[in-house]
């Protein structure tokens, strides 16, 4: 869960949230509008991870096609050899860029594969949270429309 929203909830519902606050490490990825309805990727990251400063790293391995076969179903995978706590995928040109956040507990491989929608040609960014810092890899995915198949 994102720490900021935990703080907000903690402020609003003081006593009950104390237990939640006491064990933030146990928290799981959880949906929140503050992350997934954000129009800007940086704000989404801020709300998800309490920080939006990122460092590009070749240790973050992002796999996505150069040209999407179909914008409705684009396979994307993120993997890293770093010790990761969380992985996120941002699709810059989508109405709200944050597509997925995934928590990686100890013992789970720092990897996630899924299929995403992309409305148009866009930058796709994989974010890995490791040692409290955010590392990224990005690439452009071209989305074409039209022809016989699409």
């Amino acid at each position: 869960m994102d720490r900021r929203s935990v703080l907000k909830i903690a402020g609003a519902v003081s006593a009950a949230t104390a237990t939640v606050f006491a064990m933030p490490r146990m928290a799981f990825a959880a949906y929140s509008d503050a992350i997934f309805k954000q129009k800007a990727g940086a704000d989404a990251l801020q709300n998800a991870y309490g920080a939006n400063a990122t460092t590009p790293s070749d240790q973050v391995k992002l796999k996505a096609p150069d040209i999407a076969e179909n914008g409705a179903v684009v396979p994307v995978s993120v993997e890293t050899d770093m010790e990761a706590e969380s992985i996120a995928i941002l699709i810059t040109e989508n109405p709200s860029p944050m597509a997925i956040t995934a928590d990686i507990p100890a013992g789970t491989k720092a990897m996630v594969k899924t299929r995403c929608r992309m409305g148009k040609t866009t930058q796709v960014t994989a974010v890995v949270k490791s040692g409290g810092k955010l590392y990224t890899a990005s690439k452009e995915v071209k989305v074409t429309i039209g022809g016989c198949g699409g």
Partner: protein, 101 residues
């Protein structure tokens, strides 16, 4: 029948999980034939438990494709249980359980 299909295989101590969840994942941007917007309806939270311990969890936006696909891997072994559940924005939930092969 559950909306979730799971394939979980032990590959030298690392369990390779692939799962497909049947769900329309409506973005709220699509219109029906009469031109009315189809309300958004999507899976927000997914979690996976093996032998009672959470091994993976994720939150989705509407930008995850229809019938979401998720693949991950965790330390485990053949014969362990694996339960995957989701919850969507209407509060609906579903889960499926399998034994790791």
């Amino acid at each position: 029948m559950s909306s979730i299909r799971i394939k979980a295989k032990d590959r030298k101590g690392l369990v390779d999980v692939k799962c497909l969840m049947k769900h329309n994942m409506e973005t709220g941007l699509r219109k029906d034939k009469s031109g009315k917007k189809i309300p958004e309806h999507w899976i927000q939270d997914v979690s996976a438990e093996s032998n009672g311990k959470t091994v993976f969890s994720a939150a989705f936006n509407t930008s995850i494709s229809k019938d979401p696909y998720l693949s991950f891997a965790f330390a485990g072994k053949k014969g362990d249980s694996l339960k995957i559940s989701w919850k969507d924005n209407t509060g609906a939930t579903d889960s499926a359980e399998t034994v790791i092969k």
